[in-house]
Amino acid sequence: MTSLETRAAVTVGAPKRARRAKAFDPEKRRSSLLTVLLWLGVAYFILPLWWLLVSSTKDNQALFTTFGLWFGGDFSFFENLQTLFTVRGGIFTRWLLNTVLYAGAAAVGATLLSAMAGYAFAKYDFPGRKALFSATLGAIMIPLTALALPTYLLFSQAGLTNTPWAIIIPSLVSPFGVYLMRVYSADAIPDELIEAARVDGAGEFRIFWQVGLRLLGPALVTVFLFALVGTWNNYFLPLIMLNSSDLYPITVGLAQLQAAANAGGGSQALFSTVITGSFISIVPLIIAFLFLQRYWQSGLATGSVKG
């Protein structure tokens, strides 16, 4: 911090400096101290993930006898993987597929619904527009998790609990997605383009599909990814909605395996299996974020500036 601080102290209220040329190119003025501090901060965020990676290579014995932050004991990663994918008739694969299905369907659905609504809010001036948009914004503040319980009660009245729908449908609502889409549409889709398309005789839906969606790219990716994460990581909703372990997503399944490891009785000490399962479960999302970072970062930029 010192270099920054001294500079601040020196420059506050000081007369203009002669180093203008450099000031225009901050890229050139790297601070080693800042770099070190930042990377120390990064260590905190990486530490648990590093522990997870290391631990997924250990068997139960080594898990409790070797130092947690370094490799030790036999390299058991592949044995753990094998146990993971064979325990209880290979149900882990099932959980993975369920998660992909729920999160994928919910994310695609939420993105589409948000895009349509956001586009309409941005590009049409229809009666009730303001009131409806205000309602949407207000809904950002409704705690979805707290609503899970009433939703569950409602679903159980309708006989919809214990079906994939019970997970997918509630995850389709994304007021923040609508908001983001609206802001992004207002910026990214020129009115002239829409007007031109209308003059050419295109219908409103064709305009949305062929003109609108194409220009909404980054926002679509952003809403998609965040809806994906939201559903992928959801624990409460599937926990209360589902009664059949064949329908569990990975979060509920892992928690169940962990509970079995902790509860004894059946004498299945699955600690290393649960850890390996946790590791596997986060890989797909991290990859998705890595590969799509260019899109979601620019999509989010629009939303947060206006937010």
Binding site: F24, L34, W51, D125, A146, D191, A301, V305
Partner: protein, 321 residues
């Protein structure tokens, strides 16, 4: 709502050319069709459950004697229920302590990255963000191991340097341990929101200041932070919502620290336990409903409180984007 900063920043769509009522009606119909699917789900998944919770909360059900209409008995019970009030206060404390730390860290990271003065900034950004992609279930599980008093690496390191064994899972420390987990999970997310907002500040705004010799701290404090105030407010509101509905963390920590995590550790966990352990669904519904109100009121109150300053800040730094 219409006074919210979010709305204040919104732009009016360009009014469509007046081209006869038929056209206008056709477009209105299209617009309604566009928003219909969203509002259908919105209604069934948000509004109706909310109303349903409100409806259920007016009944009382007993294991013996069944269900009967009870007016506001559940609410009267709730506001006298020390477990529920305690959980709200605990989350209030959580909010006051954890959220400033989390958002402060996020802001520091965002400003540091934006200053362009650190090496490997791109890597830093991604790695700090990464915990967001980790499910709360997995995050809690990992930290649970890291906290372990005998085999947890943190305790091992602490012992090795002679600090004794820290008891992260005791009744007195568990709230702090949970704050750490949540901080770990969400600094990156908030950082990205703020960073994105920082990148969108036109650089000529502060380049001028730099030329004038203003230091980075001064630029950050007087130019950058005011400019991204809307983004910061957004993160605070998300944090209010997130804090008061914590569930996965307490419910998983309960397995390793059952004496420290009470059934009413967080309001949401309490509602869950009421519904499924006490089998008091109606009372649980009133807790969920009250919780929703508390969150909405807090978020709204926060917006109102910041609004005036907010609007001034906006007009000062308003820029085309």
């Amino acid at each position: 709502m219409s006074q919210s900063p979010a709305l204040a920043a919104e732009r009016h769509p360009t009014a469509p050319a007046r081209r006869g009522n038929a056209n206008k009606r056709r477009q209105n119909r299209a617009a309604y069709l566009f928003i219909l699917p969203f509002f259908l789900v919105f209604l069934t998944m948000l509004v109706i459950p909310l109303m349903y919770a409100g409806y259920l909360s007016l009944f009382e059900s007993k294991l013996i004697g069944g269900e009967q209409f009870a007016w506001f008995a559940n609410y009267i019970r709730a506001i006298q229920d020390s477990a529920f009030i305690g959980s709200l206060l605990r989350m209030g404390l959580f909010f006051i302590v954890q959220v400033p730390i989390m958002l402060g860290l996020a802001l520091l990271f965002a400003l540091a990255l934006d200053s362009g003065r650190a090496r490997g900034a791109k890597g830093v950004r991604l790695l700090v963000f990464m915990p967001y992609a980790v499910p709360a279930v997995v995050a809690t599980l990992m930290w649970g191991y890291l906290y372990g008093p005998d085999f947890g690496p943190l305790a091992q390191v602490a012992r090795a340097v002679g600090w004794g064994t820290p008891d992260f899972l005791s009744a007195g420390n568990i709230l702090g341990s949970m704050m750490n987990i949540v901080t770990w999970e969400f600094v990156g997310y908030n950082m990205i929101i703020m960073y994105a907002a920082l990148r969108a500040i036109p650089s000529d705004l502060y380049e001028a200041a730099e030329i004038d010799g203003a230091g980075q701290f001064r630029i950050a404090w007087s130019i950058k932070i005011p400019a991204i105030r809307p983004a910061i407010i957004l993160t605070v509101i998300f944090s209010i919502i997130g804090t008061f509905q914590l569930f996965a963390e307490p419910s998983l920590l309960n397995a390793i620290a059952p004496d420290a995590i009470t059934r009413s550790f967080t309001p949401n966990y309490y509602a869950y336990n009421l519904a499924f352990q006490n089998r008091e669904l109606n009372y649980a519904a009133s807790i969920a409903f009250l919780l929703g109100i508390v969150i909405a009121v807090l978020s709204y109150a926060f917006q109102l409180a910041t609004e005036r300053r907010e609007r001034r800040a906006l007009t000062e730094t308003e820029t085309p984007s």
